[in-house]
Amino acid sequence: MTKPQTKKTDKRVGLFVCHCGVNIAGVVDVEKVAQVMKDYPGVSFSANYVYMCSDPGQQMIIDTIKEKKLDSIIIAACSPTLHEKTFQEAARLAGLNPYQIEIANIREQDSWVHTDKDKATKKAIRIVKGHVEKAIRNESLEPIKVDVTRRALVIGGGISGIQAALDVADHGYEVLLVEKNPSIGGKMIQLSETFPTLDCSQCIMTPKMVEASRHPRIKLLTYHEVESVSGFVGNFKVRIKRKPRYVDATLCNLCGECEKVCPQVVPDEFNMGLSFRKAVYLPFPQAVPGTYTLDAANCLGLSPVRCGKCKDVCDKKAIDYDMKEKIIEEDVGGIIIATGYDLYTMQALGEYGGEKYEDVINGLEFERILSASGPTGGVIRRPSDGQVPKSIVFVQCSGSRDTEKHLPYCSKICCMYTAKHSMLYKHRVPDGQATVFYIDVRTGGKAFDEFYQRTVEEDKVLYIRGKVSKIIKEGDTLIVWGVDTLTGKKVEIEADMVVLAMAMVKADGVQDLLKRLKISTDIHGFLAEAHPKLRPVESLNAGFFLAGCALGPKDIPEAVSQASAAAAKIGDLFSQKELSHEPTVVPADDEKCSGCAICITMCPYGARSMDKERGVVVVNEVLCEGCGACAAACPCGAAQQRNQTDEQIFAMVSAMLGE
């Protein structure tokens, strides 16, 4: 903590004090500031002017820099957020390095907040002095330049991932689309019809899937999982695990003979376990890529000794029990994460039967029951006995908006899909009774409220305002305990089936990956935006972009918009010749570094690592965002932030506090 020497510097510093009309000059005696600073060590020029940001003001700066051969300038004016760029540009025109410009904020943080002229002037002088001390010690810096690999990785093959991949590919860049399941399509391909237009989800989804698979610049990696990502924006190295499908996709001609002979029957994930599939299966008829997959976990043993029936019947010799897991490595410049969501578990809702009642199902299960390609061929039948339910109760906010035990947020789409569910039910079972329990009906969206009103008015769905407390079962009938808060009556309704509008939650399967990628998430595990308003599809980690329900609950158009926005951001990134990165990073001084590695643990970006041979820390400056946490932690002063070194801070403090 030695007091910094007033550097014997040959540097010529110039000071320009702005009046900003009366905004500054009305409170701060700008003439006095300029006058006092004239004699301050290091200051070669000091002047004041009515509007520094005006054209003549800037010209004055440019001319003075040239004329007085200034090495560094301080503009005492408004907040740097307003005109730092303006003045940097002016200085650049005069041939001065932009990192030699200091803005001393004497407006927002002085003249506008104080009334005592004397005190405000003194404070302005202190502020300016501090910046002079900093300027004396500023280095000229150049932005760090890096090349860009113009190739994108999209993680997740649902509607968001597919849309993002298509857009990036259409911009002219190559895309790797990684999906962990055997087919792309995500949750949207499971839906029946979509609100509020009631167009068939599969009909609008499958063309997109086919387009993605045929696009010359999209490489589809289904049944693959991203293992790890290293590197930095523009230059990522990705390790991707290829899971063995045991069926050669290029040979499989979908004849289906293998499926016929396979003896292993397991619940079908695509139909939410409401029907069965074989261990060798096609996830759904329109699956992309169109190939069978042999699910090793349920196969009798991947060996002709154990079974081997599927291999025997395959004419194309597509089945290969010896297929192995493989890691592939790819270079990409930017990454879009579109890993989707899951539904909250039934198990967590003990009062609604937990998993005990077969006929209490979630919204996605009901989508399958409604779907023409679903387990019941589109006829609404309940899971327990296949009867057509004469009464269905829909429970909104199942798990949502519950700060106490479940999830505090609103899942956003349930109001609309419940309206859709109850409407479709009434269309298929006109004499059936549909009852919806709701707390609020939220229909903010194009044609949403009209759709909801239609459900109530035309389809005569009974909306009851109240939250269901409990569901019990008597014989084959479910009894729903609810309340109508509008009439103040406790109500009990018999139902043949109950559909819970289950909360949307983070996708469980990708949480490990996100941790490995150091992608920050919010407290609910959804991806965190760089800025919730102004950078909604970017991650704080440079080069990562976000789309879809992985960010939080949303409907299809919103997910698609985000996907296109993320793709546009990738386009931005790839359109640059080279990337530049702020040079105000924190390098490690080899001479001073003791190799204690404390700074490595401080860095949230993994920019610092140990050079084991030399026993010192090395810094990947491209990864460093310049927060300075490491600099504050470094016990030996080896980590010094460029243009905000400890010496600069000490000098500023001395100048700002001294008389």
């Binding site: 003990g350 039967g353 937990g354 005990k356 409990k470 019990i472 079962k473 014989g475």
Partner: protein, 310 residues
């Protein structure tokens, strides 16, 4: 082994069956139950406003006595006592103000030795040191299923029993922490351990009407009826309870239930400790079966009869 046991008022006078069967059963698991000296009524209801905290004094005093006798665990079987003791303990641990006020009040408590008439006062603060356990918890976590299993003499093969938790064992979960309020298991696990089949039915955690059985008997009658009916519909041969008041509402009031609800066929109500005691080989005479309004003795046969017509 000696363990502190808080029977509570009702067990001493009215439902001796619960007390007796508990003691006998525990002896067969090598546990002798000792009562803290000079215990008083816990107050039955935990005070629910921030100003009526004097109700915490009695239970705190009981637990302090247990601590001063060197005990670290206090067992109860009555759900009311369990809730009051455990919640008081929670408050003394987590609410600094209540801790201060109750201890200030109890400090000058006077204890008189019955023999020497010597007076003691100036007690040390009670900070929630004693662990309050329901017997079900104690059996599961301290005695353990393997030991209990090894001591079983007369398990109940296939006897279908509906466990009834009621309110006081489960809620509020944050303070009691015995089990999930809407998805509890501990009672079922106990019954399965006894060789019974635990009947799943949706009313196991619904209220029996509690003290309203005095001020508004019709309400308690209906509440109890709904529980018993659901248990019967799901095939139960009896309902097992832990609480004397639940027992009163469901057993003693069954005549009233049958009068109001003609479809109801009756169902015996047992204390869980009667099941435990019998399974461990305790003599039938020590089960207190004479206290039951609805005959239950037929369930405690070496070969229990499947059904009894009432």
């Amino acid at each position: 082994m000696k363990i502190h046991y808080y029977p509570g008022c009702t067990l001493k006078e009215k439902t001796t069956a619960l007390d007796l069967s508990t003691r006998e059963a525990m002896l067969r698991l090598d546990v002798e139950l000792v009562e803290p000296e000079g215990w008083s009524c816990c107050g039955a209801e935990y005070p629910l406003t921030e100003e009526k905290i004097i109700g915490l004094a009695a239970p705190a005093r009981v637990m302090r006595q247990v601590r001063d006798e060197g005990g670290d665990v206090l067992i109860t079987t009555c759900s009311f006592c369990y809730a009051v003791l455990k919640r008081t303990n929670y408050a003394l641990k987590n609410d600094a103000l209540k801790h201060k006020r109750i201890n200030a009040f109890l400090k000058d408590d006077i204890k008189i030795n019955p023999l020497t008439k010597e007076k003691t006062t100036g007690f040390e603060d009670y900070n929630g040191e004693v662990k309050v356990l329901h017997l079900l918890e104690y059996l599961r976590d301290y005695v353990g299923p393997p030991k209990i299993k090894s001591r079983l003499k007369r398990p109940f093969p296939g006897l279908k029993i509906a466990p009834y938790y009621g309110c006081r064992l489960l809620r509020p979960q944050k303070e009691l922490g015995l089990d999930e309020p809407d998805n509890p298991h501990i009672f079922e696990e106990f019954l399965e351990l006894m060789g019974c089949t635990a009947v799943d039915y949706p009313f196991k955690q619904e209220c029996c009407g509690s003290y309203l059985s005095v001020s508004l008997p019709e309400a308690a009658t209906e509440a109890s009826y709904r529980i018993l009916r659901a248990a019967r519909m799901n095939g139960a041969q009896a309902v097992a309870v832990t609480c004397p008041l639940c027992f009163y509402n469901m057993d003693k009031r069954q005549d009233a239930i049958r009068e109001s609800f003609l479809d109801f066929g009756g169902l015996p109500v047992l204390f869980f400790t009667q099941i435990l005691a019998w399974a461990l080989g305790v003599d039938k005479s020590a089960l207190g079966l004479a206290e039951h309004a609805v005959p239950a003795a037929h369930l405690f046969e070496d070969k229990p009869r499947a059904e009894v017509t009432l």
